[in-house]
């Protein structure tokens, strides 16, 4: 219940700034439009009806979905945690009989909830995911859950560098670029030469590219299981980093400010 309340409070805090929410959606919409026009121009001038097996209308849907996913898989926990360490407000969190990571996860879920609902509705009503049999639907849900958990753990593991770095804002453009390039936000990774095929199993691609292809019904059951396996692997790596780094970080934490 306490964690559910954390999620609820995070959602309310997101909705409290309606202007920011609308602006965020508008900015994303503009970015998507630019990318779509760019790709349509590529199709037009190349004279090809498909690129790497993707037709123009599929590309448009891909770009919309992957950008919604970019809103769900935000790197905000890094900057939130950095703020807590830098201001010393982490002290307040440490004084509560709660697991910080579980609370942070529910907070992350609450903040991303409006976009998760959009993705969920699109999956339920537009995507063929739930029309390919029970096993396929369950595997898809498992992949979504695993990827969401993995990405949160990965971002949280990165956030621990805040214990040693006073400013982590330089990471913001780096992470945006990673999601743009490795996550398939600017283009589907399938357009890359076969020698780069392994890139589709990086954490950003699992969160962006693979979940988009899942929604579009472009993943086979085997591909879903393989992606799920990679997501689980990355989650274990992130968990390992957390287990090792957190105790060291908490010892170096100075609780600055009175």
């Amino acid at each position: 219940m306490k964690y559910w309340l954390t999620c609820q409070n995070a959602l309310m805090a997101t909705l409290a700034y309606r202007g920011n929410l609308v602006l965020n959606l508008l900015t994303t919409a503009v970015n998507v439009m630019v990318t779509i026009f760019m790709w349509l121009a590529v199709y037009n001038f190349s004279g090809r009806s498909d690129i790497a097996g993707i037709q123009p209308n599929q590309m448009v849907i891909y770009l919309i979905v992957v950008n919604v996913l970019a809103l769900i898989f935000s790197a905000e926990p890094i900057f939130k945690f950095s703020g807590l360490v830098r201001s010393g407000n982490l002290s307040v969190v440490l004084m509560r009989p709660i697991n910080y990571f579980i609370q942070s996860f529910w907070d992350y879920l609450g903040r991303g909830l409006p976009f998760l609902v959009i993705y969920g509705l699109a999956t339920g009503f537009i995507s063929p995911v739930f029309r390919r049999g029970l096993l396929y639907a369950l595997a898809s849900l498992l992949l979504m859950g695993l990827t969401y958990g993995m990405f949160f753990l990965m971002i949280t593991a990165i956030s621990l560098c805040s214990f040693w770095l006073v400013q982590v804002w330089p990471l913001r453009p780096v992470l945006s670029a990673l999601f743009l390039l490795l996550g398939g936000q600017a283009f589907p990774l399938q357009v890359l030469p076969p020698t780069f095929a392994w890139l589709i199993y990086n954490p950003f691609s699992l969160a962006g590219n693979q979940l988009t292809l899942l929604l579009l019904g472009k993943l086979s059951l085997n591909q879903i299981l393989l992606a799920g396996g990679w997501a689980l692997g990355w989650a274990v790596v992130a968990l390992g980093i957390l287990k090792i780094v957190w105790p060291r970080g908490i010892r170096s934490y100075e609780g600055v400010g009175s």
């Binding site: 306490k2 409290a16 407000n89 002290s91 307040v92 440490l94 009989p97 100075e254 009175s258």
Partner: protein
């Protein structure tokens, strides 16, 4: 004799900081050769607090009193020495059972969600501390009534005044009825009437529930109003541990009387120094009785008998003594 609820034995804590040289050449030099220095924030401090005691920690800025609170609450780990609460709890381990028993209010750190009303944070705390709903409602109603913030329960935190926010921070620290309450600068930015209200409330709480209170403040009024015992921290060392009156009697060495009269004194009596029109100072060691007609005196204060004056004298000493 019952064992103390807080035991600090020969605690030491130091941290590493970096010094920066001035100017561009200094910044360039620091880019490759950062100069580290170790600051000893707490040095060989021992302190024992019994259940139900109200202990005031006094010290100048950077003296180490807040660091001591952070060691006692487990925010920071001690380098050497030992800190235990409730006989066997090591604070830095932060066991949930331990955290359930302490309440912490750090005045410059907020528990409240900025964009939401205080009630939302308090309901979250109710779930975190597993407080039964009925008990929560009753206790919250009592706390908000006592601190006069009931109407503000539903107002977003960002719209509250500083005083109201601090009162809600105090409520957050008390909502689970902790056995030990740590208060760091609890009345900072609060008006006099609200301060008096908080003092009265905390005293009542201490009397009725035997809650142990550890309090740090620059405001000596806080300490005089609440603390049964004070520990003075200077440059990381504990230089005094005793009652407020004990502190005053130990350090008040040069008695000086401040006298305010209704009209100027003419002629000026001997041994009396005029500060302004109706304000005079007398060295009390030089006289056996006041050389001023008592009917003309509006107020008399022993100047160096105030805690403020003593602390000013103590903290201005460069070399601390143990």
């Amino acid at each position: 004799m019952p064992s103390p609820i807080i035991s600090v034995d020969h605690a030491n804590f130091s941290y590493v900081t970096f010094t920066k040289q001035a100017g561009f050449s200094g910044a360039w030099h620091d880019l490759f050769h950062r100069q580290k220095s170790t600051v000893a924030a707490v040095q060989d401090v021992s302190l024992h607090v019994n259940r139900g005691e109200v202990l005031g920690l006094l010290g100048a800025n950077g003296a180490g009193k807040t660091t001591l609170i952070k060691l006692m609450t487990g925010i920071l780990p001690i380098n050497t020495g030992d800190v235990r609460l409730f006989t066997d709890q090591v604070p830095f381990r932060k066991r949930p059972a331990f955290l359930q028993r302490i309440g912490v209010m750090l005045s410059q750190k907020s528990q409240l969600a900025w964009d939401l009303p205080p009630l939302d944070t308090l309901v979250l705390l109710r779930e975190i501390y597993y407080i039964p709903h009925d008990a929560f409602t009753t206790w919250l109603a009592f706390l908000t009534k006592e601190l006069a913030v009931t109407p503000q329960l539903h107002v977003p935190v960002r719209k509250l005044s500083l005083g109201q926010r601090i009162k809600f921070e105090l409520i957050c620290a008390l909502i689970h009825k902790p056995e030990i309450l740590f208060l760091d600068e609890p009345t900072i930015g609060i008006d006099v009437s609200s301060q008096a209200n908080i003092y009265r409330f905390l005293k009542q709480l201490n009397r009725d529930t035997q809650m142990t209170i550890i309090l740090t403040s620059h405001n000596t009024k806080d300490i005089e109003a609440l603390a049964q015992r004070v520990a003075v921290i200077n440059h990381g060392h504990k230089i005094f541990d005793g009652t407020v009156t004990g502190l005053i009697s130990r350090y008040a060495t040069v008695p000086l009387l401040e006298i305010v009269t209704d009209t100027p004194l003419d002629p000026l009596p001997t041994h009396v120094r005029q500060v302004d029109a109706t304000h005079y100072e007398i060295d009390a060691t030089a006289l056996t009785e006041l050389p001023i007609d008592p009917r003309r005196i509006l107020s008399v204060n022993r100047h160096n008998g105030s805690l403020d004056a003593i602390l000013t004298q103590l903290f201005s000493e460069e070399a601390p003594t143990q």
